[in-house]
Symmetry: C2
């Protein structure tokens, strides 16, 4: 009976995946090619498919199968046991929230997103305030229903980074903050001289496309199982076991948007292409967390791409596709790609200051969820803390508390995964350098296969078999730490 239950869980899980992957095709088309008038009906198609998938997975019979399968005592270190653990987590989280609350949350999100867009356009937080109020209230209700030991925030971060708590993250971010502030004071003077438009020029879209495609291919992206299209907001998405697509945007003056955008999304797509395709639809065939996912994108974008080694190797190819780059030496290009500057906007931030933006958001949303900060005091709290961290006065809410979409989507607990991604990237890279002999020489020669092979072996192939912290321990010897990233940044920006 129990083994049959495990088989039935597999079958159901694959059916849910099939529906969600079909929805992913509809979403991809929604973002890339849909004609404008087709939008409302597409939203109906998508919510129907998602509702079907939800109903299939939360069917009480799934609970029965789970109970039966759990009694069989599968080893939690093996695939079956891990799948059961992950189904249990998802099933409990999905069934603990009553349908009425899900619907109220969805409605609130829809209205909050519109209000946020208007509030940001007018730089007027008061338009957004009542919506954040409601989002925080409903999110707290969800956290209470899900349950937690220390902070309700832990119940939220569980969606993105299973097994991680606020208490674990805090000391790591504290250590990182101190190090970044030091680092900034040391490098500030020498790098500030580089103007923002240093690399600006005339770069044809065809040239940018050809160049970024060649780089993605060299990194190991399989174009027979993917493609690159154009959207305003770049993303990577998976439409099925051999279908990992990327999008990017092109700026005729700045080739860096598309180039580093494609490297970033290629990192995400390489992770998905490295998951075991015969496990598609099972937890063991799925990415484990956002913090691990983001480590893959950051690793290829920053550790591999934003380096002098990259530009020494790729300079001729870049000049072939983008002739206006011949004005620059490889060293110029590497400097431009590593420019450091304080700024108000997270998505425009460089490698060094990026995590300070995240820190700020983590502290504030943690305080909101724990009830230590009132929504109406949020803008002031933002501006005060921003000044402490960056030494800059926020000019308006649009460039402050209103800049990100996340809270309007109800995604509290999401922000720290960006920094976890950065930390994991540095830590994985350090481990790969130790374990793969001659890795940096290989990378300097454009032989990216050994690095990808190491990531496949130590990260990709495992799917959700281990919790993120365990995955990091198995790959690097310890759970996520700040010091690998600190060492990396100091090496890269001070030498």
């Amino acid at each position: 009976m129990s083994s049959a239950a495990y088989q039935q869980l597999c079958e159901r899980s694959r059916e849910v995946y099939l529906l969600r992957s079909a929805a992913a095709v509809l979403s991809w088309d929604f973002e890339t090619y849909i004609p404008s008038k087709a939008v409302p009906y597409r939203a109906e198609q998508l919510s129907y498919l998602e509702a079907k998938a939800h109903t299939l997975f939360t069917d009480p019979v799934v609970g029965d199968w789970l109970q039966a399968a759990e009694q069989l005592g599968f080893d939690p270190g093996l695939e079956e046991g891990a799948n059961i653990r992950e189904w249990r987590r998802s099933y409990d989280r999905a069934t603990k929230i009553p349908v009425a609350l899900i619907e109220e949350f969805e409605k609130t999100r829809t209205m909050a997103r519109e209000a946020w867009a208007r509030a940001r356009a007018e730089s007027n937080f008061s338009l957004f305030e009542p919506h954040v109020e409601k989002i925080v209230t409903l999110t707290r209700q969800k956290a209470d229903l899900w349950g937690y030991r220390e902070s309700p925030y832990d119940a939220l971060i569980e969606d993105y980074e299973p097994g991680t708590t606020a208490e674990q993250v805090k000391p790591i971010l504290k250590e990182l903050r101190a190090a970044l502030v030091d680092l900034l004071s040391e490098i500030e003077t020498e790098t500030k001289s580089l103007p923002e438009n240093f690399l600006d020029g005339h770069y044809s879209i065809q040239g940018q496309q050809a160049f970024s495609r060649e780089v993605a291919g060299a990194f190991g992206y399989d174009f027979a199982a993917g493609r690159i299209d154009t959207t305003m907001h770049p993303f990577a998405t998976t439409l099925g076991p051999f279908d990992q697509r990327i999008t990017t945007r092109y700026d005729l003056k700045r080739f860096e948007f598309s180039l580093y955008g494609v490297m970033h999304e290629t990192g995400h797509a390489l992770y998905e292409q490295g998951l075991p395709p015969d496990r598609a639809g099972l937890p063991s065939g799925e990415a484990v967390s956002l913090g691990i996912h983001e480590s893959q994108s950051r690793l290829w974008e920053n550790h591999v791409g934003r380096t002098p080694e990259f530009w020494h190797l790729w300079h001729p190819t870049a000049c072939k596709y983008l002739p206006d780059l011949t004005r620059f030496s490889p060293t110029d290009l590497a400097s431009g790609a590593r420019r450091v500057a304080l700024s108000f906007i997270r998505v425009e931030a460089d490698e060094v200051t990026y995590d300070l933006h995240i820190l700020l958001r983590f502290e504030l949303e943690l305080a909101l969820v724990e009830g230590r900060l009132k929504v109406k005091d949020l803008p002031e709290a933002w501006n005060t803390r921003f000044h402490e961290l960056f030494g800059l006065v926020v000019p308006d809410d649009a460039r402050g508390v209103l800049q990100d979409i996340h809270w309007s989507l109800g995604s509290l607990g999401y922000f720290p995964t960006y920094t976890l991604g950065n930390l994991n990237a540095a830590q994985l890279m350090a481990a790969a350098e130790k374990q793969v002999s001659g890795l940096s020489d290989q990378l300097a020669q454009g032989n990216y296969a050994p690095l990808l092979g190491w990531l496949r072996e130590n990260v990709h192939q495992h799917g959700r078999r281990y919790l993120p912290a365990d995955l990091m321990r198995r790959a690097t010897g310890e759970s996520t730490q700040a010091r690998y990233r600190i060492d990396y940044l100091r090496r890269k920006y001070l030498s």
Copy 2:
């Protein structure tokens, strides 16, 4: 109870449509942008969605609702009555075939399609013969289960042209054949002088795209509810109530492929864009038949586009986008677009000879289904009849009996809808000319709205409310006749 049953039928019908339209998005992506390795899983997604839709619609409860709704005695001339009539037809046809037969037919089709491709490549009918044998046997079984009065062929054509029988089609095609043979003997000498490559030149893809888009827009195609992409085999497809997409192909030497291809698919898309969007998912919001659908594509492609009036108006625009066309006068272009030549291949045939190709196929598949022709005698029957009709000796089976995919797909009864489309196009055009004052002047000036308005009013808006023959009677005063097309061709090719 009965009215509630009607509401439930509407709801179920819309749910089935939602699933099928979601599948249409997946199919569109399959034809346009899918990466090669993603194909097998996409096939799984598609067959899952289609199976879900089939199960929903053939649920016995649908039969109960139908019975209850039928007892309410809705007027069959009104929308509700027509919807019930159409659901009944679909429900009976879907439920009369046992699942085992459906599955055997699907397997047979899959193998037949592969065998056909191989047989055609090697021009060897014997490779395909056993598959046709099986297709004909299973098709006969289906026809017997569906039921018919005179010929089993009637049960097949019902899928494509509801309410039409072989006996109705025969005399019309006979009249057409005699007229075409006469016409060919009269025009042959003067038109044969035009070489096949008369219009060949150098036409950039960008120029072809811009030109055909402008023409499609002028005809009335709404790009906010559609788009044009590139595929090997052009098609039009509907992905939802405001999402009618077109594809085409580009040949750098021949702009006619893309131009007339886009006009043709635009005709299909205009029909779909003219269906009442608030009825999407109900029979009253669906196209009525292939013979009506094809009339819309042929009308815009041939009656509007393949004319001296078109080229006199569009010559400057064409030359702007495709400068190599400046070698030609408007009259040259019109002559090139109306070139008549005997050929072996249906899809390459001109307006005058096209229906002779269809006639041949209709006679042969009718004889196969009625058991008057053995599959092994098919190639000889083809070649003999081809020689009688065209006066040409078929050089090999690839250019003869193996050229079309339809029989490998099990689509017997499909071919006559092409000719019905041609006949309907001429008949509708004649009616429009009578009813819309100054129509030909309007068309000559590029004012296509009155024609589109007449088609919307008399064809598009009705969906499946009337059977095709009734729709034609309401729009033109009589059911489909041969003489309008004969008059049209004689006027166009003899004056």
